[in-house]
């Protein structure tokens, strides 16, 4: 059997035309080799948005989906254009991608690697999606990235923070705009030093799975470089809901900083529990006890309520940023949906635009051409200052935000305030940094 997984859609159109002309069904055997998977030959191009629609991250997924819909509107020249107006590359003109109208299909990752791969496959095989994007956990991102590499389509990662996504598990067809655990550490460390001094004893609680470990490793390295001492690191089960038995030992450990390497429901609960145990009012070694949540998100902050006040952490982006790009995006998003976008929405929106722009510049939907256009592409006007898509590992390098839970929020969205914008230079690292070692990008796969 020959390898004939070629563009169905293309053949479909031609055969439909042929069938109409001959008025008898014509049987085509797909031998005419197209160059790559799902080459869009009609007037439209289909993107695949793979986000959690069910399960605990459904709300985050819903926000991602809103951003995607907005991005599609802007690409097709509807709405106010959003960041297209501020984007440094002017290749896109609001007439779709390379003149083709952008359409999309959605899938539900359920925040499970299996389900995410299944829905991505369905979008590729059934709906002819040329690019897959989205997701809100690193496990899913790595799994789907692997799939896209095999299938020969581009994967534009959504929210994924683990070092592995562009480290050990990086793939030639996968690109990440979101920042990572190393960058969180590098951005947070100087701020923490300014705020809390260089003589601190840190206690880590870490979600017991890959992302948690890479974050713990990164934060530990960054803070130890400041002179902090790591008193202890404890792994907590993913399924844990009550963290009291992990918080209690912190009280008498001699530590004066608690680092919570948790995300989602875990983070909401562990932070709530930590505050319950009076850690924030506690004094140890003559210093105020502090809690740090290295990866912050507004949706999580909302879940934790009052407890986030004064707690520091890092995010990829925040809607209160005052640069033109951010303002334009918040304006379009807020006008359409009535509330400001989350960082997940931002990264997804930007990823879609970046992909479209790369196609436009490359002049081809071929994944290899797109990848080439994205590699070492430097741009601005997307909300994080001057940004570089590094070719060696497909990671974006840009400014990282250090934020703090706001003491006096003026609205239900106004939960975090930006403490510092850590410049890109400070969070950069060589591609062969030991925390990212072990994987190979491989070569780009156009499929077919």
């Amino acid at each position: 059997m020959s390898k004939t997984d070629v563009s169905r859609r293309g053949l479909l159109k031609t055969s439909a035309v042929a069938g109409a002309g001959l008025a008898v069904p014509t049987i085509f055997t797909a031998q005419s080799a197209a160059a790559f998977t799902n080459n869009p030959t009609g007037g439209t191009v289909t993107l695949g948005f793979n986000v959690p629609q069910t399960g605990p991250y459904a709300d985050e997924g819903a926000d991602e989906l809103r951003a995607y819909q907005l991005a599609v509107e802007h690409l097709n020249g509807e709405g106010d254009g959003g960041m297209l107006n501020t984007f440094s590359s002017k290749a896109l003109e609001g007439s779709g991608i390379m003149g083709k109208k952008v359409e999309y299909v959605t899938g539900d990752t359920q925040t499970k690697s299996d389900a995410a791969r299944a829905s991505a496959k369905s979008m590729i095989e059934k709906d002819g999606a040329i690019m897959i994007t989205g997701g809100s956990s690193s496990g899913v991102a790595v799994a789907v990235q692997g799939l896209c590499q095999e299938a020969g389509v581009i994967f534009m990662a959504g929210l994924t923070h683990s070092n592995d996504t562009t480290g050990k598990d990086k793939k030639a067809n996968g690109f990440r705009h979101f920042f990572n655990a190393y960058m969180s550490g590098a951005a947070l460390a100087p701020v923490l030093k300014n705020l809390y001094g260089d003589d601190r004893k840190a206690y880590h609680l870490t979600a017991d799975y890959t992302w948690g470990w890479t974050q713990e490793e990164s934060i530990k390295a960054a803070t130890e470089a400041l002179g902090w001492e790591t008193v202890n690191t404890v792994k907590t089960p993913l399924a844990a809901t009550d963290f009291s038995s992990y918080i209690a030992p912190v009280l008498n450990s001699g530590a004066d900083v608690l680092v919570l390497n948790h995300y989602g429901g875990n983070m909401v609960n562990s932070l709530t529990n930590a505050v319950q145990f009076g850690l924030r009012e506690k004094e140890v070694n003559g210093k105020n006890f502090e809690i740090v949540v290295p990866l912050y998100s507004r949706l999580m902050a909302k879940g934790a309520g009052e407890n986030v006040k004064g707690i520091h952490g890092s995010t990829n982006w925040h809607w209160s940023l005052q640069d033109e790009g951010s303002k334009a995006f918040v304006r379009s998003f807020g006008t359409k949906y009535g509330f400001p976008p989350s960082q997940a929405a931002h990264t997804c929106y930007v990823q879609t635009l970046l992909y479209a722009d790369a196609v436009q510049r490359a002049g081809s939907f071929n994944p290899c051409a797109v990848a080439e256009a994205l590699e070492d592409f430097e741009f601005d006007g997307m909300g994080n200052g001057k940004t570089l898509y590094r070719g060696e590992d497909h990671q974006c390098f840009k400014d990282v935000l250090v934020v703090r839970g706001k003491e006096n929020p003026t609205s239900e969205f106004d939960l975090l305030e930006v403490v510092e914008v850590t410049p890109r230079a400070q969070v950069e690292y060589p591609a062969d940094h030991p925390m990212f070692a072990g994987g190979q990008l491989g070569s780009c796969n156009p499929g077919a």
Binding site: G55, P56, Y57, A58, D59, E60, D208, N232, V234, K235, T236, P237, A239, T241, D242, S244, S245, Y246, A248, P249, L251, N252, G265, V268, N269, T272, N273, Q276, F277, G278, E281, L299, K302, G303, A304, G305, E306, N307, W319, S320, V330, R331, G334, T335, P340, T410, S411, F413, D414
Partner: protein, 340 residues
Amino acid sequence: MDAFLLQILNGLDKGSAYALIALGLTLIFGTLGVVNFAHGALFMIGAFCAVTLQKIFSLSFETVDPEKTDFLGNPLKVKTPYVESWFGPEFGGAIIDWSVPLAILFAIPIMVAVGFIMERGLIKHFYKRPHADQILVTFGLAIVLQEVIKYFYGANPIPTPAPDTLNGVANLGAVIGMDLIYPVWRIVYFCFACLIIGAVFAFLQFTTFGMVVRAGMADRETVGLLGINIDRRFTIMFGIAAAVAGLAGVMYTPINSPNYHMGMDFLVLSFVVVVVGGMGSLPGAVLAGFVLGVLESFASMEWAISLIPGINQIIIYLVAIIILLVRPRGLMGRKGVMED
């Protein structure tokens, strides 16, 4: 030493939640002979009673503050809860602040009603069906309830803090000259659980109603022969069990922000608790709840993890397996319950 005492407290606190859920589960099983996989969902509905009441109290009208602007640069709409405008900011604010304890009153009628509807509408038809069918239909119900809650409240956890005065920590060790700091609300939760457990036992022990129910648990047919309408009493017991689970949920909300899948999180655990305690034994369920809570806390201590890596992940299941193999009827199970 302190560390151990603290973990015992933590264990008792976790155990309170387990015990309350398991108590209701056992009441239903003991009286109606039904294995209710939707019991975790009742716990979750209880928690969302608190969320709902908080939302009701926080219902607000909007006034435009021209001085300030919102994120789009439009004039900021300031929300003022109705209760604050009616009762003044101080008293109104206090009402919102105390919405979780107040939700107890709100939740009792709702939970009892939910219990009645569940029993009369669904469970009733499953008394004579095999246990597997009961498990399956209540499992389906649990999925439905959780999806309904998710539809209305979203997937994100919703913060429901305890009243400010109960939000701090207390030094329990002060009396014995030790430093034993513990969150006030968790102490409240433990006391509340003891109170409820005591009330249920007292109710079964000292009221005629309770005596009939106990007799019915021991031998349903005989009691039926006495001409007592045991079914109606059992329906009421189902309502009580639902209320117990619901109250456990209401009071749990400040400890962890409630979300739609908290019921499923607790379901497996509470079944393990019931089985370890012994199917059908009320004291067994309570005892097992506390024992498993304490064991779980101990297993999360460092020495335990360094001894057996991953023990904190599996302790509950491990205990369940061992108990079931060594003492098939659980800690305090009666003979002949669910043995075929």
